[in-house]
């Protein structure tokens, strides 16, 4: 199975672990991640305003590159996934946007949202299958109680992201089970950690982070996994009351598959 891969800028710098372990694990699972030859930063936030065109172009370029190769586009960072998936949705459904973007890009054949965007977790669930992962695990993380933190960007708005049940998701818990550990469901796993304001409103970010971590601890979690570099940083740096290890889910996957 070959997929085009869009790593995004954070995965090349501060979140190299997220990327590295994803690649190693993919190899074991028989998935080839072909990094797009030229990609640009997606902008990290989806431009919601209907008159924002330029800020969506880098996402369309990535989508178009995958389309040329005839491959699905694999994402890993939650922010990149959110931006690219939503821009793709616009390209499928918003005729005005379609026209403007294509006028701007002057492609040989207009891009109208043909590429399928797949998050690494979706790939594990839908293309590889958690059962298959279970078979490949050599180092099951037995007895580890792990809380999944979904955050916002993978789940909402659910009619576009189509990732999982936005209020009661299960993909990360299923993932945790597949690597032999025990998932701990926390009520705040889909509530915002305040990552966007971590630079300028530290107090608010800390408050949200403390709520998430304390609730995870109450439920007996020993560690929290995430797919988002910003959540990772925020949950780690801005917790004031308690500390819990915050880990990228790919790192645990690599560990379980014995390639860490």
């Amino acid at each position: 199975m070959i997929l085009s891969y869009y790593p995004g800028c954070t995965l090349k710098t501060k979140a190299q672990d997220l990327d590295l372990y994803a690649r190693k694990s993919a190899e074991v699972l028989g998935v080839t991640m072909e990094e797009l030859e030229e990609w640009q930063c997606c902008g990290a936030v989806y431009p919601m305003a209907s008159d924002e065109i330029a800020t969506k172009l880098s996402a369309v370029r990535a989508l178009e590159n995958a389309k040329e190769k005839g491959q699905d586009l694999l994402t890993l960072c939650s922010a990149c996934h959110h931006v690219i998936k939503r821009v793709n949705h616009d390209m499928q459904t918003n005729a005005d946007m379609q026209m403007k973007v294509n006028n701007y890009l002057q492609l040989d054949e207009p891009y109208t949202g043909e590429t399928k965007v797949v998050h690494y977790l979706e790939m594990l669930r839908d293309l590889v299958g958690f059962d298959k992962i279970k078979e490949k695990v050599v180092n099951p993380l037995k007895g580890k109680k792990i809380a999944a933190y979904y955050g916002c960007l993978l789940l909402r708005p659910s009619d576009v992201l189509q990732f999982d049940n936005p209020e009661n998701p299960s993909i990360m818990e299923d993932f945790i089970r597949s690597i032999g550990a025990t998932p701990v469901e926390t009520p705040y796993r889909n509530e915002c950690c305040g990552g966007y304001v971590s630079m300028e409103n530290k107090k608010l970010a800390q408050k949200k982070v403390d709520l998430i971590i304390s609730s995870a601890m109450e439920k007996g979690a020993e560690m929290i996994i995430t797919a988002c570099p910003l959540c990772m940083y925020n949950l780690d740096a801005n917790s004031t009351e308690h500390k819990l290890p915050i880990v990228y889910f790919t790192e645990l996957l690599a560990e379980a598959l014995g390639v860490k």
Binding site: T13, A44, C152, R156, E191, Y196
Partner: protein
């Protein structure tokens, strides 16, 4: 009441504020509620009534975490988050009105801060 600005915000956001039935689920949902002067349901009501200046001057628009929980749970598909983004844009698209300036970055910089945080802050808070 600034009709032009109101129209601009409605157009940018694609939100029809008249769909709001004032149930308050957005405000019941909002994780940043306590830090806000105006709350999500008020954003909708204020744009609807044209009381936009107050919104633009309020810190509340910068407090919104863009977590889309209000969008997800609104029973009338009003999408308050889109509206707030449009108000933010209406502010930073003005001359010299960037909420975050490049020169402010270094003092905020932390060793572990991911690029994503800086990029998104720039995208969200400056033009």
């Amino acid at each position: 009441m600034d009709k032009f600005l109101q129209e601009q915000i409605l157009r940018m956001s694609g939100v029809n504020t008249r769909k709001c039935m004032k149930c308050g689920k957005c405000s019941g949902t909002c994780p940043a509620y306590d830090e806000m002067e105006y709350h999500p349901h008020q954003f909708v009501a204020m744009v609807e009534s044209g009381d936009i200046d107050a919104l633009m001057q309020s810190n509340s628009i910068w407090t919104c975490l863009s977590c889309f929980a209000c969008v997800e749970r609104c029973p009338r598909s009003v999408e308050p988050a889109n509206l707030i983004e449009a108000v933010r844009l209406a502010v930073i698209r003005q001359q010299n009105a960037n909420h975050l300036k490049a020169q402010e970055i270094p003092e905020n910089l932390e060793e572990k801060l991911p690029q994503q945080a800086i990029v998104s802050a720039f995208r969200k808070y400056s033009k």
